[in-house]
Amino acid sequence: MSVREFELDLDAFEGPFDLLLTLVLREELEPAEVDVAAIVVAFVGRLVEHDELDLGACGEFLVLIAALLELKARALFPDEEAELAELEPEEAAEELARRLAEYRRMKDAAAWLSERLGAERDRFFRVGPAPLAPHPERTLAPQDPERLGAVLRALAEPPPQVSLAHMPLRFPPVSQFLERFRAVLRRRTRFDLDAEIGDLPRIEQAVAFLALLELRKTGEIALDQVAPFAPIRVSRSNGERSATWTVRSA
């Protein structure tokens, strides 16, 4: 039986024993990851399969596994090595027994948990995600209820209807009013603007006023208003500009 070709199936490694040793020596596999006990159990299992005990293979295995165990011990307890080396044989034995007892208790605790888990296999329950944390309560400064009510009422008020009244507006040409005023002044020397355009829609009144300003600019008419918002009187200027008129009322 060849120890080196002895096949292993461990958590950390799967393959022949000599490859495992090579990887450990090349530091490509952490010795701490290797379950030495599992290797021993596998080797003993392999021995049982043979009728005769192969002492040569056993000796070789012992040497190799001891080396592996030493490497693993050094990897696991680098700092404790010096500390343990200082111990007297009696103290070292005590320490070993204490550690073994500690591990033994944990092994038994694990066995108890396994048994318990087996007995609880018929307990089904819902496992959901962690519950959401409740939203923290927001603290507000004291508020006047009436003021809050007024704000809410204002918010509840339906928005004003958007006016589309300007859509069908048609602006008459300024020239139309220029002609109209010139015609009036040909018949009369003066007239009141309100009397002339008071019945027209507001948009036409605005255009008429622009025409009036145009005529004033060209000096064809004179404008007179005794006070702001008083009726505007329009008269023929006879070529003279009225220096006294102001457009404050405009």
Binding site: D11, E33, A97, A101, M106, A109, L117, F125, V127, P131
Partner: protein, 200 residues
């Protein structure tokens, strides 16, 4: 013979019991008496009375849903008699593939936690990285701070899910560590007897 379920009565404790039923149905983890009292806006004594009512109403053999005291609180689970049917539809993924290494690591964290990976490694004699990662992934253990000093190793503790999966009311329901395994003196005696046997 058990009385049939009587869910609607005018008894005020019964009304509180219905509120607790609702809270326990909604909850994804066991709820403590304090949490239930806070949510139901009632005092702890009345909550415990109402829980007593519910425990009687939802018990094995009487209902398909069982109210159990687990992981420091109360939670609903399926009755054991429905386990086979539940098993056809659902599994308990938390414990699937839980290895011996994982179980030993879990035992160490349950008894000695919060404890770090180096501590676990020292006790088990095998690197604990993959076992710890597996337990973290299952939600059976969680991080619980770091060891003192700069660059201290992460410590781990068991979670409420651990207690629920193992059906423990709390961590104190674990057997006493002193009652488990052999003492150091017993082990030493055994080792010495083996040694003597060899030399003889």
């Amino acid at each position: 013979m058990d009385r049939p379920l009587r869910l609607i009565t005018a008894n005020p404790v019964d009304q509180l019991a219905r509120t607790l039923e609702a809270l326990l149905v909604v909850a994804s983890a066991p709820l403590s008496v304090e949490e239930l009292a806070q949510a139901a806006d009632d005092d702890a004594e009345r909550i415990e009375t109402a829980l007593g009512l519910l425990s009687d109403r939802y018990r094995e053999g009487r209902s398909g849903i069982v109210l159990e005291r687990v992981a420091g609180g109360y939670a609903f689970r399926a009755s054991r008699e429905a386990a086979v049917a539940c098993g056809r539809l659902f599994e308990r993924p938390v414990e699937r593939g839980l290895s011996q290494a994982g179980m030993e690591t879990l035992a160490i964290v349950a008894y000695l936690g919060p404890c770090s990976r180096p501590e676990i490694t020292r006790i088990r004699g095998v690197a604990a990285d993959s076992a710890v990662a597996g337990l973290l992934e299952r939600g059976l253990i969680a991080e619980a701070g770091r060891e003192d000093g700069p660059g201290g190793a992460v410590r781990y503790r068991t979670t409420a899910l651990f207690e629920r999966v193992f059906g423990l009311e709390s961590a104190s329901a674990l057997p006493r560590l002193d009652d488990l395994g052999e003492t150091a003196a017993e082990i030493r005696e055994r080792l010495e007897s083996v040694g003597l046997g060899k030399t003889a």
